[in-house]
Symmetry: C2
Amino acid sequence: MLSALALARRIEAGELTPRAVVDVCAEAIAAHEKEVQAFVALDLVAARRSADNPKLAALPLFGLPVGVKDIFDTFDFPTEYGSPIYAGFQPRADAAAVALTRRAGGVVLGKTATTEFATMVPAATRNPHNLDHTPGGSSSGSCAAVAASMLPIAFGSQTAGSVIRPASFCGVAGFKPSYRLIPTAGVKDVAPHLDTAGVFAAGVADVAFMTAAILDRDLRVDRSPPAAPRIALTRTHLWSKASAAMQRAVERAARAAEKAGAKVVDLTLPAILEEAYAAQFVIQDHETFRSRSYEYDAHRDKLGKELRESLDAAAAITADAYDAARRTAKRARQALADLMAEHDVILTASAPGAAPKGLGSTGNPMFNRLWTLMGTPCVNVPGLSEDGLPLGIQIVGRFGRDRAALEAAAFVERAIAE
Amino acid sequence: MLSALALARRIEAGELTPRAVVDVCAEAIAAHEKEVQAFVALDLVAARRSADNPKLAALPLFGLPVGVKDIFDTFDFPTEYGSPIYAGFQPRADAAAVALTRRAGGVVLGKTATTEFATMVPAATRNPHNLDHTPGGSSSGSCAAVAASMLPIAFGSQTAGSVIRPASFCGVAGFKPSYRLIPTAGVKDVAPHLDTAGVFAAGVADVAFMTAAILDRDLRVDRSPPAAPRIALTRTHLWSKASAAMQRAVERAARAAEKAGAKVVDLTLPAILEEAYAAQFVIQDHETFRSRSYEYDAHRDKLGKELRESLDAAAAITADAYDAARRTAKRARQALADLMAEHDVILTASAPGAAPKGLGSTGNPMFNRLWTLMGTPCVNVPGLSEDGLPLGIQIVGRFGRDRAALEAAAFVERAIAE
C-alpha cells in the first residue's frame, strides 16, 4: 500500500514530485482497476495538471492524491450517490470535506464507488485480497482503492459500519472520528444523527496525518512513539457472532498490546449499551426514511429492491419509538462516558470476521452500530489476517478524544507487527 | 393573515377548494409582492395545476400553499441560497422537509427570499407592517409572505435567530422546534450543530398544525383548550438591551397568562447559560467557516463583503476554542434541563424590540442565540405591538417537549388576546 506519510516525507525532501505520485497511482489503477472496480469517476489528466501546481509543496498534504466516496459532492466530478436517480448529476459545489482537502493541498483523483445512498445495495467493487469476496460497504470503492495501492488516502462515511467494516475486510486503516468532527456539509444525508465522515489510508499514522491536515487539529501520531494506553478489552453481547478467527485476532492483539506495555483489562458493558445497540436500528431506519423521502415518493421505481423494502418497513416506525430510541442513546452515551473514566480506549472486533465470499452483500455492521450511535472515535487497525483475508481490530476511544484513540490504535498496530 | 387551520377546515367542509386558496394567495401577491419582495421564485400556474389534484382532499394539508426559504432544495424551482454563486442552480431533488410537505398534501407555491447563505447580508424583502423597516432575517421572505397574507405557511430555518426574530418583527407565529425535529437533509448547511428548520404561519395553532402534518406527530393544539402552563419568566442577562416597549410587552404577556390561570414565577439563569450564549458565537462562526469552505476558496469575489469579513475573522478560531465552546454548551444543556424540572416553559422576549428601521441589517438575534444552542423548542407568540410594529413574545420549551411548548404558546397567545 501507499503510505500517505511516507509519500509526503519524500515529496517534502524533494525525492518525489506530486505528479510522480499521481503516476504511481495511475500505474496501480491500470493494473487493478478493471478487476477491483473502485472508481465511478476518474480524471488522471486533471489530477496531473493539479499536481503540477507549485504551491502544493507548501501545503500540509503536499499534493497527495485523494479519493472521494461518491456521496460527497464535488464541483468537478458528477456525484451519483450510488443511485441511477442521480445519473450524471453535477453538483455546483464541493462538500466541505473536499474543499478542505483541496485547501490543504490534496488532489482529488476521482470518485469512489458507494452502495446505493450509502446503504445496503452493493456497488460493483471487489476485494483486492480476493476478488470473489466483498470489500465491505458502503464506502466500498474508497477502501478497495487504498488496499490496491491505487490511492494513498480516501474519504468514506459511516452510518452503521461503513468505514470500520470495509477497512477491516480490505486490511487498511480506517478512522471514523467523533461524530461530526469532519464536516458533513455537502455529503448526502442518510441518518443525520449517525452519519460521520471518515478516512481510509495504509496505516493508523496515515489516517491521523490526513485528518490533522484537513481539520488543522493536533491529531498526528507519527512524531513520537505512541504512549502505552489503558485498554478495556470488550467482547460485547455479540461476541458469539464473531468467527473463531476474529476472536483469536482480538485476543492476540490484546496480548501483543499487553506485552508492549499497555494495561489491558476485561470490560463487560452494562445492559443499557445492549439496549442502545437495538436503538441504533430504529434511529437509522426512521431517519433514512425521512432523508430519502424525495426519492421514495418521486423515483420509487429506480430504488433497489432491498432499499425500497427497507424503507417500506421503516415507514411503520412511530415517532414514539424513535423518540424512545433517542432517549436510550442519550442514557447509553452517559453510561459509556462514566464507564470509560478509567480506560483510554476499548479494544474489540471491527467486524464479525473476514470479508464474506460473494458480492451480493457487503457484510454485517453489527460490531460498528453501537459505536456509531455513541459518537465515539473508532479506528480499524490492520495487520492481522487468516487464509489471506484481513481481520481488523477496532479501537474505540472516548468522545472528543480522537487523538488518544489514534495514538492507542498506533500503539496496538505497532504491537501486532512486532 | 391566512390561518392555515381555518383554510384547512373550510376545504375539509367543502366550502373552499385548494385552487381557490391559491387564488386568494395570488390576489395578495398581486397586491403586495411588488413592495414586499418576499419571493425569489413563484409559479402560480404550476400551483393551480397541483391544487387541482383530487387526491389532496384526503391528505393532512388539504392542498394548502406553502412557501419555502431558498436554502431548502426543490426539484422544481431553482435554489440560489441567497448568493450569486448559485444563480440559476437547479437541484435534482427536494429537501426532505419539502418532500414531506408534498407527501402531506402541501402545494409549493414558490421560494422565499433568504439573506446570503442564511447569514447576515439582507435580501430585498421589506416588512409588510412598514416598508421602511426590516422584516428580520435570515428567513426574511417566508415571514413577510405570511405577514402579508400571501401564504398561509412557510418554511424558515434558524442558526442564531432566523425564525423567532423575523416572526417577532413581522407579527406572525414562528416555530423553531427542538434541534433537528424537522429533517434538514437538502437544506444548505450553515452551522450544523445549530441549524434547525422551522415554520411560519398566522397563529400558534397553525404552526402546530403544519408541523404535526409533515412529521406525523401529535403536535396539534387546536383540538382542546390549552392547559395552564407553569411559566418561568426569564429576563436573561440581556434584559437591559431590550427596548422599554419590549420589556412592557413581556411583562404584559406574563400578567395576562397569570390572569388566565398560568403559574408565573421569576427565574434567573445560572452563569453557565451566559457562558453558553458567548459560546454560540464561537460554534456558529467556526462551523460556518467550514460549511462555506468551497465558496470562500473558489468564489471569494462573489461573497458579500460582510460575510467575507466574518469568515476571515472566523478563520482565526482555533479547534481548542471551538471544543471548549462545545463543552460549555453541553454543560449548559444539562443545567437548563435540571432547572426546567419545575417549569413547563420559559417566557422571554423574541427580539430586542420592534423591527429596526432600514433595510441594511436584519436586526439582532441576541434573544435567540442561547436557545438555538440549547436545542430547545421556541415559539414566537404574536399579538402585541407598539406604534404599528409587532412585538413578539418567546416561549421556550424543554428539549423534545415540543407539544408542551406549543400548547403553552397557544395559552399565552389566547391570554394576550383576551
